[in-house]
Amino acid sequence: MIGFIVKRFINYAILSAIATLSAYVLASMILNPAGRYLGRNPRPSDATINTILDGLGVNPNTPVIERLWNWAVNLVTQGSLGETIHNTSVISEMAARAGTSLRLLILGTIIAAVFGVILGVWGAVRQYKFSDQAISYGSFAILATPSFVLGILLMIAATALNGFLGVQLISFTGEYTAGLDGGLWVHFWDRAAHLLLPTISLALMGAAGYSRYQRSAMLDVLSADYIRTARSKGRTRGSALVRHGVRVALIPMSTYFAYSFATVLAGAAVTELVFSWHGMGEFLFQAIQQSDINAFTGAVLFNAILVLIAGTLSDVVYAALDPRVRV
């Protein structure tokens, strides 16, 4: 089992490394960091621009391979991701933002996975009944909604609710209320209130996808002989479904989870932007808008590491669920 997980981990690690390096090459070919200085008035001299770009390590006159090599050597020897176009370190910028994104991502993914599995199993067990139809059409509708539309619709609903109640029950702009006085608990509740809508938005998107997949995986399992055997041994229907049904149906889900995680990351980035959170999603969008190669590569590396962790975790779950892997 350890061998299996280590093998998968190495596979993911190589993939993440190649993804990051190719993102660097691609960004170097497309983005033009010099454009930021050419538009200034008075225009800085070419020598000045070259010096600035050399200092950042993004001068287009240096061959891409050489820049890539310097970037990689810096990362390995000094653990540095270079500097942003504003002369701050990419690592410190990312450290300030990562917590914001991770809070949203971890909560949203866990809630999505739990609800997706429960709804999928429920729909499969009650196939073609009203609840199954309602869950199916509901998840189709959510899957057909872009994440930014879902976020804004939730905002409209929250505003209506606030107006109806007459108090600011749900606040949704930004990550916390600026200039809020009070103790630890006041701040905690403020952040929790701000977290509510983005998390619901992200969790709804995830749960809709997972529930469709879980439902069809569960339907495959339900007609299997071992469920009937478990029933004939004297297990109750519920116990047979959970111990023998859900456990087996979760195995293909763990693979699906690893593959869909990149989509979740993109959805989280969009959600952050819609709710004006200063997280990694905003960091990545701004990096592209400002032609900041180092910042973009840093953000891609962050995402690649998250995919690496999610992929390895789902393999651990796979190995724990499927005894054939362990022998």
Binding site: L15, I156, R215, Y259, A262, I288, A304
Partner: protein, 308 residues
């Protein structure tokens, strides 16, 4: 004796049920079509999609405003009998804008879905049929794009595509929409490769490209049709998301994404600027994905969703 008793006794007098007719094999096409016809989801999707397409084509005719017209006497008005979906703060008719935006989004979706499916078919069939280094390289490339969210690549590439027309966006979206399906096609091709009719063609000296075109692709065509249908909704979602953040369709052109972006700021105070285009968008994508899902169930009953 017990053996004899188990032989079914033919009941005299009662006519035999006409089993002989049922033994005639039903063609696959007719089987799929009859399964489709009995799926309510398919009808909901087809009628919805047809209505949206007809509305996009002819919806402007009864409306007295064009999408570039500015009605300076009613700026920022709510929906009324003159402006069915209301107007924006500079007097643009939201109904006309929604239809023009819908046209663009529909054209992009209806083109990107099939193009991506064709790429998926060719790449997957080549990888699965040739095997070896070709296969490994293509699978690595696909895995790479699955690690790197394609949205981020779209945004990175957008400076190039912004300077071109919106048609370039179609190729961008199609160029990144084929990966997951290509893996499925590859797996299917690998099992097809060992079948007798393909082996026979190979031993007769038919060249690789002809075998892929004549024997492999027709055998995975049902998968490709499903993928093309599901791809329509996916492409519209990608396009609107990109346009919403200003990376997709650019200023003089209107799509549902740019329309939603301009309505976003007023979504809470003047919801008609946002709600109507958003509802049309969700309805379109929902219809397309219902058709795709029903097709998948009809073609592949073992996918579980269609089992009684």
């Amino acid at each position: 004796m017990s053996m004899l008793e188990e032989i079914p006794v033919s009941n005299n007098g009662v006519p035999e049920p006409e089993i002989a007719q049922a033994s005639k094999p039903v063609s696959r096409m007719r089987l799929v079509l009859s399964r489709l016809r009995s799926t309510p989801r398919f009808w909901v999707g087809v009628i919805g999609l047809g209505a949206v397409i007809l509305w996009a084509a002819f919806g402007l005719i009864p409306n007295q405003w064009n999408y570039t017209d500015l009605d300076v006497y009613s700026m920022g008005s709510s929906p009324n009998s003159v402006h069915w979906f209301g107007t924006s703060d500079i007097g643009e008719d939201i109904y006309a804008q929604t239809i023009v935006g819908l046209r663009k989004s529909l054209v992009i979706g209806l083109l990107v879905g099939p193009i991506a499916a064709i790429i998926a078919g060719i790449v997957g069939a080549v990888a699965g049929y040739l095997g070896g280094w070709w296969d490994r390289t293509i699978i690595w490339f696909i895995d790479l794009l699955l690690v790197l969210p394609s949205l981020f690549l779209f945004i990175l590439l957008s400076p190039i595509f912004k300077s071109l027309s919106w048609v370039a966006l179609i190729f961008l979206l199609a160029g990144f929409g084929w990966m997951i399906m290509a893996r499925v096609i590859r797996a299917q091709t690998m099992s097809l490769r060992e079948r007798d009719f393909i082996k026979a063609a190979r031993f007769m000296g038919v060249d690789t490209w002809t075998i892929i075109r004549r024997h492999v692709l027709p055998n995975v065509s049902s998968l490709l049709i499903i993928d093309a249908t599901l791809g329509v909704g996916g492409a519209i979602l990608s396009e609107t998301t990109l346009s919403f953040f200003g990376f997709g369709i650019q200023a003089p052109d209107v799509s549902l994404g740019t329309l939603l972006a301009s309505g976003q700021g007023a979504a809470v105070t003047r919801p008609w600027l946002f709600i109507f285009p958003a509802a049309i968008l969700v309805f379109t994508v929902l219809s397309a994905s219902l058709v795709g899902d029903a097709l998948r169930d009809a073609v592949d009953p073992t996918s579980g969703v269609n089992r009684d």
